[in-house]
Symmetry: C2
């Protein structure tokens, strides 16, 4: 990390921040700051302390903070729930962490247009709880939906468990109010289902990891709530058999399932133990969790029966059907808690997010075996098999010294990413680049593409104050 020409947060700056947001929303106590120094990346080398945390409540306050930072050349790192997995919300160069925790209101539920207008600090799941009674739902489904914030979902273009059918966050973002790195406020998009009025700056903002603007208001499209849902749990003898059926499911059934999630034995075991949950996983080397939803129970039944048949024709050991809310939620809970469970078991690890063409998932598996052998690490694998997005996790052997782990991890990741690339894939499907994967960008993006990104960043943030040090170095 080279020295950057940033100014420190002086007493005078603190006083100005207090004038903007009120004194009790300017945090400088090191004990309080610590919580804002990291996200959910396990490696604490990715952490960095802010000089100050501010908690604005309005777009105007955000704009005033950014203008102050722009004038003084102080880095500003926006932060939602801090549940990110790429170091995106970490203030690498100190400065100001701008927390959206007080901007947590659902401003409007517009039934007639089937849209919700929300602030960035709203917890994603709260949106669904607020609109379900109206027969509506928000289709984003990140695994952390009970804790993550919708602003972070927008910043990372979060994916999740239901993306094969419903797409990722960007599909549902119709409007954004954004504070630019110069402190101006722009209103992008609106309550319209189509809009080609100039460059799609809205979609550029989505997934820009808080480096091009700070989102202060989000218009989300909602869909009619599916009235029929079934989850299948399908055990296989081994991972290869489980992943071999995925491309078949995607193409042979004439149906796009809502979810096809892969959990290998280690993943199921870890999550079940973490949750104190019983599931008969011992015989199964891997399981698929498959969801089908729709507006009609008969059709959903027909679809899941077809899917079940395909699985049984392709070496599934069994097909368990969960057709009530409690059982469905029980299975999804096991899936959602895998990452958390692994962190408890082995805090030293690297949670990955590679994505490959769906049809290439079977070809990925021998690569993982090869890397696991070569580097002497466990590599449990789970994730969104239906869209080729797998959370391979590289886990340190407890007996191995830390310095040996630190030496070999970058090489192991390089080989993993190269394998994904060879298969037509890339290094992140939904967690983002942040600081965690920045050094690996040249493996999957040519110099001309990296240069495009740099040009965009420089054009919009000439002083490089907004979340510096992420995605690409300038």
């Amino acid at each position: 990390m080279s020295a950057m020409p940033y100014s420190p947060v002086t007493e005078e700056v603190l006083a100005e921040l207090a004038r903007i947001v009120g004194e009790r929303h300017v945090l400088t106590d090191p004990e309080k700051l610590e919580a804002y120094s990291h996200d959910e990346v396990a490696d604490r080398e990715c952490a960095a302390m802010p000089e100050v945390v501010v908690r604005p409540q309005t777009a105007e306050e955000v704009a005033r903070i950014v203008r102050l930072a722009y004038e003084r050349r102080i880095p500003v790192t926006p932060r939602g729930a801090g549940s990110g997995l790429s170091g995106g919300a970490v203030p690498l160069f100190g400065g100001i962490v701008l927390s959206t925790e007080r901007m947590n209101h659902i401003l409007e539920i517009d039934e007639a247009n089937m849209m919700a207008v929300v602030e960035p600090g709203v917890v994603t799941n709260d949106i669904n709880e607020a609109v379900a009674a109206l027969g509506l739902f928000y289709a984003g489904y990140p695994m952390s939906l009970e804790t993550c914030c919708i602003g972070g979902n927008v910043a990372e273009n979060a994916g999740g468990g239901k993306a094969i059918k419903y797409g990722v966050t960007e599909r549902y973002v119709l409007g954004l109010d954004v504070v630019l790195p110069t402190g101006q406020i722009v209103e992008l998009g609106g309550k319209r289902l189509k809009d080609v009025t100039g460059y799609n700056v809205l979609k550029l903002m989505v997934g820009s990891e808080g480096t091009l603007g700070i989102v202060t208001r989000i218009i989300l499209r909602l869909l009619p709530l599916p009235t029929a849902q079934v989850v299948l749990l399908v055990p296989f003898a081994d991972v290869r058999s489980a992943v071999a059926v995925v491309p078949v499911l995607m193409t042979a059934g004439g149906v796009i399932p809502t979810a096809i999630e892969l959990m290998d034995r280690l993943s199921v075991q870890a999550s079940c133990r973490y949750l104190n949950e019983q599931l008969d996983y011992e015989r199964a080397g891997a399981m698929l969790l498959i969801e089908v939803d729709g507006s009609d129970e008969e059709i959903v039944r027909r679809d899941y029966e077809r899917i079940g048949e395909i699985c049984l024709d392709h070496r599934a050991q069994e097909v368990y059907v969960a057709d009530n809310h409690t059982t469905r939620e029980r299975l999804w809970r096991i899936r959602r808690n895998i990452a958390e469970a692994f962190k408890v078991i082995s805090p030293v690890q690297s949670l990955e997010d590679i994505v490959v063409p769906t049809a290439s998932i079977p070809d990925l598996m021998p690569e993982l075996d090869r890397l696991s052998d070569r580097f002497g690490v466990q590599m449990p694998c789970y994730g969104h098999a239906g869209d080729g997005n797998l959370h391979v996790t590289v886990v340190k052997d407890p007996a191995e010294p830390m310095d040996a782990w630190r030496r070999k991890l970058p090489e192991c990741l390089t080989e993993l990413y190269r394998a994904a690339r060879r298969l037509g894939g890339t290094i992140s499907g939904e967690h983002g680049i942040g600081s965690k994967r920045k050094a690996f960008m040249p493996l999957v993006a040519g110099e001309a593409e990296l240069d495009l990104m740099r040009k965009i960043k420089r054009a919009l943030d000439p002083r490089n104050i907004l979340n510096p040090g992420k995605i690409v170095d300038l």
Copy 2:
């Protein structure tokens, strides 16, 4: 139009172009050039002659042309079928028109990943014809699909008749090879359903109207071909009754129809006469064409019956059901040919593309009546009512002198756009800004937003050679 520091296309440049693409693909004959001087915008004041047309066949040829133009500072305007409706493919500053007509190959149909890889000059409908036998389809459905090119669809982020259910072009573009304004080739995205590897430059390119790059290869996501489709034709006494039911259909049925198209009496009449087609439109002031599709005939039947009931409960005169391919196609053909029919009847007109929140369509209608009265013009209205995107067309009275028309049109459009804006809408849902709407951008985008667009354009195209004069002035 201010004088720009562009260089002319000299004999030396022509010789260089001939070395790149071969002499017979360098057109300079004025009679041949004329065809490349306009798109489908009726107003020939939007036309401009190129100095030369080149027809490259490969990305490398495109890159060499752009590098030459970059070095010499010659404008390059990419062009597909020329079926655009905003002047996007018109070479406002002369220079080179780069036609993709020879880059018209479907390179690959990847069944296992449900994707197609195509060149930009492929006619959109040809993609569907190529993949239908495999049980797949490309969900983009612009009304000009039998003539327009997929490259133009990408450049304009084309919408179409089925966007309420399937979304617009960008949802299906997973990968793009792009020649940048500096002549470099970048490969954006790929055969992956999710990708958050840095800024979403891919989506920025989609809809950038050929001003940020020239697309040379496109990876499209395909979907399982719906096996059941029904089109309803629903006449109403007047436009207001027809549009009043649209928000109800979108929310009350629990189903997102594939299409809800509005055709007022003038539109139906014009298209029927143009096609020599019989349809009993005399009693109806407006009609809705509603499509429902799915994987099951019973469900489609249940859905369309529900929709039919809602229509009949909301003042529909009748509900006609078209459940075989011939009849469905007959109705869609009437809808698709409205724009063409109006051009034959009244070549002097302005085909508009406003979009408003779906629930605000009923509020738009009195505004149209008011403007029609005030400016003494007919304003037939048709389009994609289901997503609030209406092709209001301002038609010159044949008796009115041209200069009076030219004087009042900008004022009439300004009022129309302001009305859309007041309702939360904007000036283009799918046709783009091009040169036709550039002057009106400040009505719907603030200075900070326009400035963002300028910054992006300048960062990527420092010499402003790629399709200059479109979207925003620099």
